[in-house]
């Protein structure tokens, strides 16, 4: 394992220290219980939007803290959900009196830890709601499984709900919007090469020279199948087909297309894949009205991409376009 780290057990703490240096517009608590909060929080009478999860997906979630998006985020150890203490501490720093919305990716660990946190927060008399995000179509949902995973679609939920909260929406509205985005967004990813978790030191999986994993999760969890590497346009079709079928999206739909890097795939390949996906969607009669391309929901240095599609209406498009000012996502104003 070759990494730019010191002690594997101190990676998150030390990275948060660096993040604090780079972003004076945030308040970063880099030691336990670690959290990241807007410097101007708590904001009176504004709903606090709080998310979090294992580290290693940067810029998710901490890079999305700021005006127009998250009020606070809790980074757990690499690929491990944060503890209830962290969530409580983040909420204490973020809560402005108008309630808290917890945005949680659907993994057993995240759900359980946020569940415990929510109980404790509620016991303090704070109005707290939880919305679980599960946009990954690679895993079939069923009563007998842990359900679909939360992946890149999380960014869209955070952006859109964050915009609403910034504009003064109440907790009911924020919760409704989060559920609306969750209901309208689907993702699927693939990997060309694995990542290595610092405390493990071994690649999360092994692929042959010409092999790729279709339906990869953002922790290196396997997906639907292993296949041969193929031309970009075929890979894009392989990802988009189940995404389009799942919701289902229908021709004429207005959509936002988010082409995401798993971390190690260069921007030139991302743009190429994005162009290919737009062309395919145009062909099938979809209106690609918004685009996002970049390494936003990553798995350390894993090579691969995911494609996320969100069905837009005026309400969602407007909230998407609203100003946002975070380390990783910034526009408007």
């Amino acid at each position: 394992m070759k990494k730019i780290i010191n002690d594997p057990a101190a990676v998150v703490t030390e990275a948060l220290y660096g993040m604090a240096q780079a972003h004076p517009e945030l308040r970063v608590q880099h030691t336990d219980p670690a959290y990241i909060v807007r410097a101007d929080a708590p904001i009176p009478d504004r709903v606090a939007i709080v998310s979090g999860g294992g580290s290693g997906h940067e810029p998710l979630h901490g890079g999305f803290v700021g005006p127009g998006m998250l009020t606070a985020a809790c980074p757990g150890p690499v690929f491990t959900s944060p503890t209830p203490d962290q969530v409580q501490a983040a909420v204490a720093a973020a809560h402005g009196g108008a309630g808290v919305l917890l945005l949680v990716k659907n993994y057993t660990g995240d759900v359980l830890n946020f569940e415990t946190a929510a109980e404790l927060i509620e016991a303090e008399g704070i109005d707290v709601r939880t919305v679980v995000i599960d946009d990954d179509v690679a895993v079939r949902d069923s009563l007998f499984t842990a359900g679909r995973r939360g992946v890149a679609g999380t960014l869209l939920v955070e952006k859109i709900v964050g915009a609403a909260a910034e504009a003064g929406a109440d907790l009911d509205t924020c919760e409704r919007l989060a559920r609306k985005v969750v209901d309208s967004v689907r993702s699927m990813g693939l990997a060309l090469a694995p990542c290595t978790v610092p405390h493990s030191g071994e690649p999360s999986f092994v692929l042959a020279e010409d092999e790729i994993e279709i339906g990869i999760g953002i922790h290196g969890e396997p997906g639907r199948e292993r296949t041969r590497i193929a031309p970009a346009q075929d890979l894009v079709r392989t990802l988009l087909t189940p995404v389009l079928e799942d919701l289902p999206f229908t021709a004429g739909d207005r959509v936002l297309l988010f082409t995401n890097s798993m971390g190690g795939t260069p921007l030139i390949e991302l743009y190429l894949a994005h162009g290919s996906a737009v062309a395919l969607l145009n062909e099938r009669g979809f209106l690609v009205e918004r685009s996002l391309v970049g390494p936003y929901v990553t798995s350390l240095e894993m090579q691969g991409i995911s494609l996320t599609l969100l069905r837009l209406d005026d309400e969602l498009a407007e909230l998407w376009d609203a100003p946002v000012s975070t380390p990783a996502l910034r526009w408007g104003r």
Binding site: F79, T80, P84, T108, T116, R149, E202, P222
Partner: protein, 215 residues
């Protein structure tokens, strides 16, 4: 020596050592069918458990369990943190403020633990999780207690059942937790949470045995 608060502290210090010794194994097991952090999560949590227990004043067994539980909840994260935390919180509650434990108390604690884990995680037996070690352990404990076994005897039976239960997860297909994403590919691997449950119970049983019998 009685199965009291201070022997409970000693027993959990032993567990912390066992977890440290098996950290890499648990990481490897979790890498095979999960995300490779189970050993590191528990290591992080039990290091703090050991620190806090070493500084702890004399207390009832229930209070010791409660302290271990809250420490694990606030340091482990992942699925295992809240699940082991719930297990121990329920056990602590079952024990109340008893000063020493007999076999029945141990069996009741284990029954409460396994019910707690099932209530929190909604896994059933056969889903390839820690439930597959914990439920048989609780059942074996109940039988042993009914036979009138001592605390250490009950724990020894529970540990044996947990070992068998953990081993039996190898052939199962996971239906809960991260391993469930693997579907059929999860078969052929030992579940890391079942393995750590086995390790914990075995270590507790060994401590109880070497510490001698309670009332």
């Amino acid at each position: 020596m009685a199965c009291d608060g201070s022997s409970m502290v000693a027993a959990w210090l032993g567990v912390a050592e066992v977890i440290r010794a098996h950290r890499d194994e648990l990481v490897r097991l979790d890498r095979e069918i999960g995300d490779g952090d189970h050993g590191e999560n528990l290591r992080r949590g039990f290091d703090v458990v050991a620190e806090r227990l070493a500084a702890m004043d004399a207390a009832t067994p229930g209070a010791v369990l409660k302290s271990v539980a809250t420490t694990l909840i606030s340091t482990v994260g992942g699925a295992a943190g809240p699940l082991f935390g719930t297990a121990l919180l329920r056990a602590a509650k079952a024990l109340g403020d008893r000063a020493t434990l007999d076999g029945t108390a141990v069996a009741e604690a284990l029954a409460a633990s396994s019910e707690g884990v099932i209530a929190r995680g909604r896994a059933e037996i056969g889903d390839k999780t820690m439930v597959d070690a914990l439920v048989p352990a609780a059942k074996a404990a109940e039988s042993a207690a009914q036979r009138g076994d001592s605390a250490s005897g009950v724990l020894a039976e529970a540990a044996r059942a947990a070992t068998r239960g953990a081993h039996d997860t190898v052939e199962l297909v996971a239906r809960k937790g991260r391993a469930s994403y693997l579907g059929p590919r999860s078969a052929g691997h030992l579940d890391p949470g079942a393995r750590s449950t086995e390790l914990i119970l075995t270590s507790l049983a060994a401590s109880a045995g070497s510490l001698g019998e309670g009332s």
